[in-house]
């Protein structure tokens, strides 16, 4: 495998360098303008993310290599995630510009923090060394804590931030401890070194399993796997809505990327026919399959009684993490591909649902389901858009969500995890029940207040931007599928 020296590596690190520069420029611009240049700051952020995206796409042509003395990989896999991160960050920064939640806050600081998270996520997705992974993860986490508590003086927001910090610190600590055990067992922090070390010697089964469990706690916290999910509903409810929208897609995707690196590249060996074998016969897939089943079941059941839409969507994101975990545990390239595809789809439809909540929050002054009563008579556009996003989240055709689930279930059935597939589809049925509560409020109930609900043009545009692929990818999904297929190549030892 090609290993590139430090200085030479910078050529392949341009997206991250652009982001680093952008963080400084945005902060300085904001300082000079004394927080008045909201439009300029948003524009600069989006432009830098666009530039980073362009340079990231160029990396598709480079192939696979290791940078900075084997700390970071550039491979199509990392590039795919970078694209997801940058698109999500740009969309959220734009929506923050119009969101009532972030109307009064200093957008410069906000944008700088968002860019920091984007940079951290890029590192998480491309790190192949445990140390680099921890740095990426902490970069994302610490900036996220601040973002969650961004509404200064708002008790809920502060509470959310504090909870997030405490959970985050504890789970990072556990994860780092698990990593130290792996280092002790194999003498390496590099995931390929670890794979080699575990394969060569007679493994200490218990110690290795404990290490795996601890690392899982750290990553599981980022992607809200049950039982590491407790922070999710509170933080999602308390944080400003754009931040909630962002946390539900960005860091979650980054967690999955890191998980694939650790568990596939580090703790498995490539077998034949695109399948993978757990290293040293350790049966961690069964453990994760149980987590997947528990995650989607708990997420869906807990969502049923929620009346606050942010909380409901928080539990729904837990359930979706469970669905994606299904594709992950089957240990095959088809499974990873299904997860990659689903992450792309999920980003679109979940941000879409949150954007409708943002557009509504301006008028409704709250996120209760009851505020959505009779929405179809007040703003048919918002109601129909929300319905489309919800149908996609349920996984009904013709929507992108259906195709995503189709591929996930296909991967699970192909590897003959029939019980997991049955749990998965039953969960889809359960999820219909609580998503339909929103539909019922929007379409069947009478409106409490009469009159049309004005929707700002910018919000309309952003929602349409997400609505088109949500439906369009349900009918013609080859573009995203081909991109995901191209991105499947991740470096294996």
């Amino acid at each position: 495998m090609q290993s590139i020296g430090n200085f030479e590596s910078l050529r392949y690190f341009i997206p991250e360098l652009i982001l680093s520069g952008a963080i400084l420029i945005v902060l300085i611009t904001d300082l000079i303008a004394r927080g008045k240049a909201r439009g300029l700051v948003t524009g600069l952020t989006v432009a830098s993310l666009a530039a980073a995206t362009v340079y990231a796409v160029k990396l598709y042509g480079v192939g696979s290599a290791l940078l900075f003395t084997d700390m970071i990989a550039i491979d199509p896999f990392a590039v795919y995630f970078k694209l997801l991160f940058y698109v999500a960050t740009a969309l959220v920064v734009m929506v923050a510009f119009i969101s009532p939640d972030t109307r009064k806050v200093d957008l410069g600081e906000f944008a700088a923090l968002m860019l920091t998270v984007a940079l951290g996520m890029s590192l998480m997705a491309s790190a192949v060394d445990l140390l680099m992974m921890v740095i990426g993860l902490e970069m994302v986490s610490i900036a996220s804590y601040v973002l969650a508590g961004f509404l200064k003086g708002n008790r809920r927001s502060s509470e959310a931030a504090l909870k997030y910090v405490i959970y985050g610190a504890a789970s990072s600590g556990v994860m780092i401890y698990g990593m130290s055990i792996l280092f002790g067992l194999t003498g390496s922090t590099n995931i390929f070194g670890i794979a080699e070390g575990l394969a060569q010697q007679e493994p200490y089964r218990l110690a290795t399993l404990v290490a795996i469990g601890f690392i899982l706690a750290g990553i599981g916290y980022k992607i809200s796997i049950v039982p590491f999910h407790f922070w999710t509903p509170d933080v999602y409810e308390g944080a400003p809505i754009p931040v909630t929208a962002f946390l539900s897609v960005g860091p979650k995707a980054a967690g999955f990327a890191m998980m694939v690196r650790v568990f596939y590249s580090g703790l498995s060996q490539a077998g034949s026919d695109g399948r993978w074998l757990p290293v040293a016969g350790l049966d961690w897939p069964s453990l994760l399959a149980a987590f997947a089943a528990a995650t989607m079941t708990f997420g869906n059941l807990a969502a049923i009684p929620q009346n606050n839409l942010k909380r409901l969507l928080a539990y729904s994101t837990i359930a979706h993490a469970g669905y994606m975990l299904m594709g992950f545990v089957v240990l095959s390239n088809t499974g990873v591909l299904a997860v990659l595809f689903y992450l792309g789809v999920y980003l679109i439809m979940n941000l879409g649902a949150f954007f409708v909540v943002i557009a509504m929050a301006k008028q409704a002054r709250g996120e209760d389901i009851s505020h959505y009563r009779g929405l179809v008579w007040r703003s048919p556009f918002l109601a129909v858009a929300m319905a489309a996003f919800l149908f996609s989240l349920i996984g009904l055709p013709p929507s992108a969500g259906f195709i995503g689930k189709l591929y996930l279930f296909a991967a699970v059935i192909r590897e003959k995890y029939y019980w997991l597939a049955v749990v998965g589809v039953l969960n889809s049925v359960v999820s219909l029940y609580y998503y339909a509560r929103i539909l019922k409020a929007m379409f069947f109930d009478a409106a409490e207040t009469e009159g049309r609900l004005p929707v700002p043009a910018a919000a309309r545009v952003l929602i349409v931007v997400l609505l088109v692929p949500t439906v369009g990818l349900g009918l013609w999904w080859s573009p995203l599928w081909d991109l995901a297929s191209r991105s499947l190549a991740f470096i294996a030892p």
Partner: protein, 488 residues
């Protein structure tokens, strides 16, 4: 044009939907909807004339690659069964547009959803690729959910979500079964035609897959004990939607069983045949008994559907030509007759604003034409010889008698019970002294007649000359029968 006939029939309503969404004015929307529901009917009649009923081959096949990486095709085609169902769907949809003329709230949404529904229904009967089939199958749920939930009766919300949950519950297992079949086929394919016939699946695999499909379809039929969504949905839905539900949606369950369970998993079908016959008998008797106990006219009609769909199951399970032809004929005639019945209930409900059977009395004097048409539909429903309902049930009994003797004998009780509840209802509503409250009740109007007369005519024509319909699908059904193991 003829080579794209099925695509046109399926997607013309979607074009109509787009136009409906763009125009303003309630009456204009209704007219446009009628036109775009009428075009598929005209095309379906053309399809009927061009269709060659002497072969079991799929005709009007259109095949395009859709998603090559997963071998998903846009594959449409019909055999005799498909043609019959497409005809039924387009006819009932067109008439239902006129039965919806009285909708005055959210007109644009109603007709847009209705046209989307029509595309979904037609597509189910034409799709021969599993993913395409599944997409159409599910696309139908969304408009149906809203049509019941927004424009339905007092308990519409409950009925809508119950319908949605039941159907989704059934269809997700179907999705798993589809994927399971895909991965055992070599090369992997979603093409139903290629998957037809006995492929020598292992016992456990074929049984699991068969049940996954069967439960999905049984909920739609509905087969006891999955039938409880039906009375709620049918009663709460607006008249036209009840017609579609009973006339078309229920048929999808039987269609799916014949197209997929029978043709793709014949061995497992043979193993479960007795059980299917037994379920058919339960449906027939249980549905009839429930119908007899109803005070609400619409609920009575709903339960009579449960009873009549039981005949389809019994006929299918016999594995004989008369039995299976009777089942398919029953799909067609029940669609027509029950469509009439729901329209009839709608007529009286629009006037009296209730459906309590005991609350009428002597209406025969006040509304003679209406009483005449009702009698025709009721007699057809109870299987009077010379009307459409008779032939289907007779064929089912002829086919099933030698195979399941005591089940068939027990099922004949359904006919007796059917006669009992229908005649008793006829008597309570139309005979006796006229209820003074309804002395001013207006007679059935021209628009309502327009929806009922074509169906009444079909009931009489098929009653006199059933061969006209049977000839359509006879050869195709023999083809499906030939997949089944002989001598079971």
């Amino acid at each position: 044009m003829d080579s794209y006939l099925l695509t046109l029939i399926t997607f013309v309503p979607i074009v109509g939907m787009t136009i409906v969404l763009l125009i303003k004015g309630d009456n204009l929307i209704k007219v446009v909807s009628a036109i775009f529901s009428g075009i598929p009917l005209a095309l379906a009649i053309r399809l009927l004339r061009l269709y060659d009923s002497s072969t079991a081959e799929f005709q009007f096949v259109e095949s395009h690659s859709w998603i090559p990486s997963f071998n998903i095709q846009y594959l449409m085609g019909v055999d005799g069964l498909g043609v019959t169902m497409v005809l039924l769907t387009t006819l009932l949809s067109f008439l239902s547009i006129f039965a919806s003329w009285g909708i005055d709230r959210g007109v644009k949404g109603y007709f847009a959803l209705f046209l989307l529904l029509q595309t979904g229904m037609t597509g189910v009967f034409c799709a021969l690729d599993f993913i395409l089939f599944y997409v159409f199958w599910e696309v139908m749920l969304l408009p149906m959910y809203f049509l019941i939930g927004v424009w339905g009766g007092p308990r519409r919300e409950y009925a809508a979500i119950k319908f949605f949950l039941y159907t989704l519950f059934g269809s997700v297992f179907m999705l798993l079964a589809i994927l399971a079949l895909y991965f055992v086929s070599d090369p992997n394919t979603f093409n139903m035609i290629e998957l037809m016939g006995d492929k020598g699946y292992g016992y456990l695999f074929r049984t699991l897959v068969w049940w996954a499909f069967f439960i999905g379809f049984a909920i739609k039929v509905p087969v006891f004990p999955f039938h409880t969504w039906l009375p709620d949905a049918h009663v709460e839905a607006p008249t036209a939607i009840s017609v579609i539900l009973a006339g078309v949606l229920l048929k999808m369950g039987v269609y799916g069983m014949l197209r997929i369970n029978y043709a793709l998993l014949p061995q497992a079908t043979a193993e479960a045949a007795y059980f299917v016959a037994l379920l058919g008998m339960i449906n027939i008797i249980y549905g009839a008994l429930c119908a007899m106990a109803q005070k609400d006219l619409k609920k009575l009609v709903a339960y009579s559907s449960v009873s009549h769909m039981g005949f389809c199951l019994l006929g299918m399970a016999s594995f004989t030509e008369p039995g299976i032809n009777g089942a398919v004929l029953q799909m067609f005639t029940h669609g027509i007759i029950t469509g009439m019945l729901f329209l009839i209930v709608g007529v009286i409900y629009d006037r009296a604003h209730h459906r309590d059977i005991d609350g009428f009395g002597g209406l025969g004097v006040q509304m003679p034409i209406y009483a005449g048409i009702t009698s025709l539909a009721f007699f057809a429903s109870l299987g009077l010889p010379g009307l459409a309902g008779f032939w289907a049930e007779a064929l089912v009994f002829i086919g099933a008698f030698n195979v399941y003797r005591w089940i068939t004998i027990a099922s004949t009780a359904g006919i007796v019970l059917g006669a009992a509840y229908l005649l008793w209802t006829l008597q309570r509503v139309f005979l006796g002294p006229l209820n003074e409250k309804y002395r001013t009740l207006p007679e059935i109007n021209a628009r309502e007649l327009f929806t009922l007369v074509p169906l009444g005519a079909i009931v009489i024509v098929v009653g006199i000359y059933p061969k006209w319909v049977i000839d359509l699908f006879q050869v195709s059904m023999a083809g499906i029968l030939s997949y089944l193991p002989v001598g079971q």
